[in-house]
Amino acid sequence: MQASLDIADAGFLVYLVEREPSIGGHMAQLDKTFPTLDCSSCILTPKMVDVARHPNIQLISYAEVVGADGGIGHFKVGVKQKPRYVDVDRCTGCGLCVEACRLKGRISSEFDVGVSKRGAVYIPFPQAVPLKATIDPERCVFITRGVCGKVPACEEACSAEAIDFQQKEEMIGLEVGAIIVATGFDLFDARLKPEFGYGLYPNVITGLQFERLSSASGPTRGKITLNGQEPKKVVFIQCVGSRDKSVGVEYCSRVCCMFTAKQAHLVKEKIPDAEVTVLYIDVRAFGKGFEEFYDRVRGEGVMYRRGNASEICKRGERLIVMAEDTLLGESVQLEADLVVLATGITPRGDAQDLATLLRLSTSPDGFFQEAHPKLRPVETEREGVYLAGCCQGPKDIPDGVAQAKAAASSVIIALRNGMEVS
């Protein structure tokens, strides 16, 4: 989004292709941001609106790039527009169809990372841009089985007559001078570390799930509760799927130390009498204001214990986190009502496919490879194709924004030079 805005502000036409029904990415899922504790959606939403409203940006959401031929100055990009089964020109985003869907509340919400449920027709979140409904073709019974009552409930509910089951996949051809890849990241699947019992114990959750829990716009309206109960002992575990060769993730995910510190702070803020412990190896509070924030969080009574957790099991209703406190040199068993796993950042599952498609290379960690690690951090080996954000490697928000603007700079240069030639 940032890259699009910069290029569009410089006077060039931008096609923004997003695979999900809404722009916003992972940041839309966050509650507050570290270290300033700004509300994430409060600072993101205006940006999303800017993108939607910008005369030079054409937003193509729920679509995927399927090919890119040509070179700098004359790329021909093929985009596959997936059918939403909703006519976006008619849809007002009123949500009546969402309320009406027979599967309402039965499908785990991607946006809330499973903390809440949605229906087969859904709007990912209230601030979504574009604010249009989308029908999940894999779950909608009318699409999968061909029947849904006499008339599909959504169709019946929609006063704008926007539901359109006849929609087909469409191919869009774009001609562009330069391409920015900002496909983001996936989060490490905590199931790959079975010793933590994620997926087994409902009160072992990931950092992102915590964000949805503590978010005021989330399913619990910002109350940190599990089954209606406030946890009194909360343990945060760092480096879950980071710095861990045993699961093939050698690198540091860069953001988890701080998002954990922030979450620990939020627990302390919302449940002052909660005991909050963070288990860590190294606290990487490297950015501007980070160390200060880490100091503050410790000052608020969050207990940092050096030693990463090895295992989680259950004793009665409580979780037991087994770890060594390496500074005591002793094994400890910590009781917990809630364990939050700081799952790391991994390359997107389809990163390799996209790399092949765009003829980019990936570095050993699986992220897209920049042209030179020091001096050309946003360029790729393919001229005219640039990288922004976490698709190149883990990044926090300001670094992601800076890199996006940097990529925009490269694109503006390319486009302006092209202008002079023609």
Binding site: P194, E195, D282, N308, I312, C313, K314, E324, G329, S331
Partner: protein, 371 residues
């Protein structure tokens, strides 16, 4: 210079001291055995004195530390290396010395005669492998000699016969796989036993070796370089038989059973499904899972020579904890698939539950009940 050499040999410099090894170590809670600190001492103390480190004998080589290490190090191997230094220096507990001596002389750690190894099979009509068979059943030391575990071997035979498996045993030619010798620090002895077994095995044209013990299985699978045979633990083999319909389990066994994953089978070789599959195939049997199971299973303390060394805290036993957990679950039977687990857990069951309390059984014994 011991610290330096160890650091070099086991790549200890790569350790980031995160503590995952010790945190997961089942012994770290009941003894002063702290593997993370051992690594660190080896790194920072060039003149590290291992001789006084009795705690080294606490390790059951369950390898949780190795599995949990985020940097791909093998602390279990380091403990073994440290033990071998102790063994070389002669500072070892007498019980260990006896076991090792017996292994060297008699090919088993139980101080039993080599010639009595196949006595258990008398009258069962078991073929010697020399008579020719597709499958070699490698019995192992305790199933051969220990009266309790012999029942497992016998059950195995019964099942094999039922499924009409063409199998044979090595008889008195069988010697210990050496797994425990290696883990007690006697690398030389392990290599000798390995050579002996390899030589024996080479002589017979079998396609598959099936073991009773996960320890034997692990040794063959992972530590017998040059063994070109397919090796299976019996749970894999028997699960296969059931799958193919060769072993019909028809009798109901109306019992509530829980299952202890042996470290050498589960954690170390990721064989989690097959034992459960067998148990689930037994009609009437209700399988309840322990909280700590599979990758998070709790060690019974039987491995790594611990059958012959008490360790520094003999009072608290993990096997007791385990039996208690099984009882809390309401299980009538605590099943396992490892001779060491069987022995340690049964011992514990007697103390914790008394006679007539929870029963400890090998999976094979349950299988036979269902035949």
């Amino acid at each position: 210079m011991e610290g330096q050499n160890l650091a070099q040999a086991y790549r200890l410099f790569e350790c980031i001291q995160c503590g995952r090894c010790t945190g997961g170590c089942p012994m770290s809670l009941k003894t002063r055995f702290n593997i993370r600190r051992l690594i660190y001492e080896a790194l920072v103390d060039e003149d590290m004195d291992l001789q006084s480190k009795e705690v080294l004998w606490d390790c059951s080589t369950c390898a949780t530390c190795t599995l949990r290490c985020p940097k791909g190090l093998d602390p279990t191997d380091m403990v073994i290396g440290m033990r071998s230094i102790l063994v070389d220096g002669g500072r070892i507990p007498p019980t260990i010395r006896d076991a090792l001596k017996s292994l060297a002389i008699r090919g088993n750690p139980l101080t039993m005669a080599r010639e009595e190894r196949a006595d258990w099979a008398e009258g069962l009509g078991v073929k010697e492998i020399s008579e020719g068979a597709e499958v070699l059943y490698f019995v192992g030391c305790s199933p051969s000699y220990d009266p309790r575990v012999q029942k497992v071997a016998k059950a195995m035979v019964q099942a094999f016969k039922k499924a009409e498996v063409e199998f044979g045993i090595l008889g008195n030619e069988e010697v210990c796989c050496g797994s425990e010798a290696r883990r007690m620090g006697e690398t030389g002895l392990f290599e000798m036993l390995r050579e002996m077994n390899l030589e024996t095995l080479e002589r017979y044209p079998v396609e598959l070796v099936v073991t009773t013990s996960p320890h034997c299985y692990n040794a063959f699978q992972n530590e017998y370089q040059g063994l070109n045979l397919k090796v299976q633990h019996y749970t894999q083999f028997v699960a296969g038989l059931i799958n193919e319909g060769r072993l019909p389990l028809s009798k109901e066994v109306r019992r509530i059973v829980t299952y202890q994953d042996p470290c050498f089978l589960g954690k170390q070789n990721k064989i989690f499904e097959e034992p459960r599959k067998i148990l689930r195939s037994i009609p009437g049997l209700e399988l309840r899972e322990l909280d700590r199971s599979r990758e998070r299973s709790l060690c019974c303390e039987g491995g790594g020579g611990r059958m012959w060394a008490e360790g520094t805290n003999p009072e608290e036993r993990l096997a007791h904890t385990r039996v208690q957990e099984a009882m809390d679950l309401g299980a009538e039977v605590l099943a396992t698939a490892c001779p060491f687990c069987l022995l340690t857990l049964e011992d514990a069951a007697k103390t914790v539950a008394g006679e007539g309390g929870i029963q400890v059984m090998d999976i094979m014994e349950l299988v036979v009940e269902a035949l």
